[in-house]
Symmetry: C2
Subunit: 253 residues, 2 copies
Amino acid sequence: MRATAEELAPFLRPWVPVVSLSKGLEQGSRLRMTEVLAQVLPGHPHGVLTGPNLAKEILAGDAAASVVAMEDPTIAEALQEVFATDLFRVYTNHDVIGCEVAGALKNVMAIASGMADGLGTGDNTRAAVITRGLAELTRLGCAMGGEQPTFSGLAGMGDLIATCISPQSRNRYVGEQLGKGRKIDEIIDEMHMVAEGVKSSKVVMELAVEHGVELPIAAEVHAVVHEGRPATEAYRGLLGRNVRSEMHGMPGS
Amino acid sequence: MRATAEELAPFLRPWVPVVSLSKGLEQGSRLRMTEVLAQVLPGHPHGVLTGPNLAKEILAGDAAASVVAMEDPTIAEALQEVFATDLFRVYTNHDVIGCEVAGALKNVMAIASGMADGLGTGDNTRAAVITRGLAELTRLGCAMGGEQPTFSGLAGMGDLIATCISPQSRNRYVGEQLGKGRKIDEIIDEMHMVAEGVKSSKVVMELAVEHGVELPIAAEVHAVVHEGRPATEAYRGLLGRNVRSEMHGMPGS
């Protein structure tokens, strides 16, 4: 639910930059979080802090790397200094769209990676799902105005890997349970936290249609989560696809 | 050790394509394996089969995806049909150099990822090491004539991830033991298989100098493996580097 400009006004001077820490897309409107911010808090510089940042590890004092994305590099560099510590390394990036889209889409791929885990496939399959998943994320993200290098960086590949390999990832957990043959309602009922990828998969498939982009892995996740397709069939569906050149459909190919 | 053309002649008709399954660079000459093939078996079309293909899992019947790279797409497609099965998916790629360089360099990064594991850092660090490691691999690989999209594909990112996360990876194991503070000679002595990254790290650092490319992670691996630097110091060294724009030094930036 959105806050109104009136509710937020007392907290912010008009020149203060606003940084989104949320990874998702608004249901219905399909807007990115900084697009929502632009409507709710117009006039402020908007950006996003994102990357492979599992909260529990950061709280435990483990080192992590992150990306602050703002269109204006001066503000990005100022925020870099605000957020960075000896153990929390912050890189700048000007590609706000790419960083945001990557953060939203990776949750869907984490469900796919978890499904492979639940089905008992090994690290080869996991690496292939993550790699081909990033290709899907890049295809849709670039169609939405993001830039390719962002998807190869910490906000894209980095966050995707952490989410797909970490036992702490809620989205990966949902996928794992689906891979073991459990029903989605049952899994969600017993969880006390949100698994964003469940909702995002719907928005992502709408965006795929809108932008005319093929997303075979996301489509299978959507079918399992929202149409009751068994995970074993989704896996077989992906294996049954025609293989061709690896770069088919990539930007520049 | 190289075979001579005379030793190999009885096995091959001159038009038969020769596919390298080795991931490494020749010591001293710093040649890629297909460059060695071109010297040993001149005239044959040369290529490489590579990707996230941990042998044990393929033998166990788990699905895996791979890349066959040949300069001639017709030969690549013919070999795709030779190698592919229902569970072994083979993509084609024309970028032989990129596929080969990625396969050699990823072993060095697997040692780095293993070192982080041995030091007890979490999945955030692991994801960051893999992501920044791929950026290093891409920088050097492109300087050597490889193409950027290859490094984002199965031969690059895919193989790197599998090697960095799999408990079966010998290079990751060597790194893990180094991270726990053990000496390299002791680790190698008790292993009955080759950890290619130990040798490759030397060649990779020579290539970095030759091509004028910065490889901070590979340099730390080299220092730990060949100069006795403790893994804890290598880790601190990487954390102490200046952060800047994430795309600094990437092709096209």
